[in-house]
Amino acid sequence: MWPRVPVSVGRRLTTLVVVDALTLLALLAVAVLALSRGSADLGYMRRYVLPPVEALPKAIDDAARLEVALRSDPEGSARTVRVQDLIGEIDRFASQYRSDWVVLDNPAEDAARFRRILQDAHRTGLMAQERTALDALFANLTHLKQPGASRDELVTNAAAARRALRSLLDVNAQYVVVTQEAINGRAHTARDWLILIGVANLIGATLLGLAVHRAIAPRIRRVVKQVDRFREVGVYDQLTDSGRDEIATLAHAVDVGIRTIAARDREREQFLAVAAHELKTPVTAIAGYAQAALENPSDMAMRDRAVSIIHRNAGRLGRLIEDLLLAASARSGKLRFDPKPIDLASLTRRSVQEVEALVPNHPFELHTPTTAYLLADEDLLIHAEWSLLSYAAALSAPHAPIGVTVASLPGRVRLEVTLADGRLTESEISRALSPMDFVQYEENGGLRQTGLFLCREVAQVHGGSLRIGHSPEGKAAVTLELPA
């Protein structure tokens, strides 16, 4: 079966084209051969058959007039000027015939070809007939030129010469017929070959075309069907094509494309599920405490507590939504960047204060210079710092200090956050940088955030970098470095 043969589609189509081209060449060769042979046959006829056919009637006429002249000669000597002229004409014709047109002894290649034609047509007797007639003509001419011959002898020889010439005319007429038959025969043979090759090509090309179609079309249909199925119902079935040709390559590429889209869909669904979960958590607190406060209007302590919790969770919710939107923008490469001079030391002090209020069990040890100016987008930098600080809080044990150091270096500023304890595994680092994941962490007072993906994207949009590693003391450390 064709598809099992590891032949490329291109090679199959090339084979088809080559077969057609070879057929065309064969057709051309047959046509050229037939034409050249026909032309050769016609050439011989034009050079060696038609000239004597044209000249013989005059020679016959000369012989007839010679005979009449001899019969009407009252003296019977037959040596009048007129008689001598006619004998001379016939003699010149005979000499030319013998030197130029006789077939049997002619050494020319065309003559040899014509002899083969006569042989093929079983008409070699014509050459003997020509020879006999020519010999007879020369014998008669010898007698006609002989002095002292009687008038009757001269008349008899003139009549015999006329018959010999007639015979030569008959022979040459037969030559014309044989030549025409040969040309016709070659034309028929060429026609038969052309038809045979044409039909063979038609059948061959059709079979080859069907085979190529059979090898390609079902596999392409299979690919299209799978793509349609994925497009219509979103179901991914692995596309397998055991071939090793361009169709298999195409199927593999389509399979990889669909698989990537399916994986991205799953990733998005998972992200939405987790995002919904994370969003519902502060919403639950907001809705629940609001309901509790409404149901207990006289409980002032409850009301105050509810307002505080609702306020805090509304803040959490807003920041989470902002994080998600920024993460989505970063993922699609559309993170807006509006830089202006910012003091990172001051900004970090403020961020630490805000985060610390949310995670009272996580003390921060802050080391900053008086100022550390850089050109940055303030909103993005605030989100990056929040991500960084809450990530550190999420992964640190309660009451263990988290180090936050801002340093102003030549041409850049650095914010380093050292986690209170522990080392990060490669898996944790990878997960922290995933755009579609949330960091799972220990008890932390309810702070949830989207990992360090946004932080890294913010660093990149500023032309800086984010590094996750370990301090010399073996503590996990995240370093955000930005150009000043």
Binding site: A273, A276, H277, E278, K280, T281, P282, V283, T284, A285, I286, A287, G288, Y289, Q291, A292, E295, N296, M302, R305, I309, R312, N313, Q440, Y441, E442, E443, G445, G446
Partner: protein
């Protein structure tokens, strides 16, 4: 006749939710005990399983996975004590069934739903089905 069960164990890593649930539990005349993860939950159960009326259990928590957590709870509590899955997961009912639980609350929920569950638990405890 055994003593009435009056304590509801609230297991959730979100402190705000634990506070809210504890408030509702208290408003029903019951005692709320909070646990931030399954480890703490099992510790409480080991100490005083006789008083537990119901367990409100979050699905996503640090530490132990939900399956082993429920199995641990079931080892320490009789089957008549309801374990209520309280989760913000999209498919709360499906996850509850996977854990072999028949009660669940999908966050955010109406506080009356939680009250109804607590009343039903108290009623079942007072008049157990034979």
């Amino acid at each position: 006749m055994s003593a009435m069960r009056t304590t509801v164990l609230v297991v959730d890593d979100d402190a705000d939710f634990r506070g809210l649930a504890a408030f509702v539990v208290a408003s029903q005349g019951l005692i709320a005990v909070e646990a931030a993860d399954c480890g703490e939950c099992l510790e409480v159960l080991r100490k005083d399983p006789e008083r537990i009326l119901a367990v409100l259990l979050d699905y996503y928590m640090p530490g132990m996975k939900p399956g082993p957590c429920v199995a641990g709870i079931r080892e320490l509590l009789p089957a008549t004590v309801p374990v209520v899955l309280v989760t913000a997961a999209v498919d709360a009912g499906q996850r509850a069934r996977e854990l072999g639980l028949t009660h669940w609350l999908s966050k955010p929920f109406d506080l009356d739903d939680l009250r109804a569950i607590l009343r039903a638990a108290r009623s079942e405890d007072a008049h157990p089905a034979i």
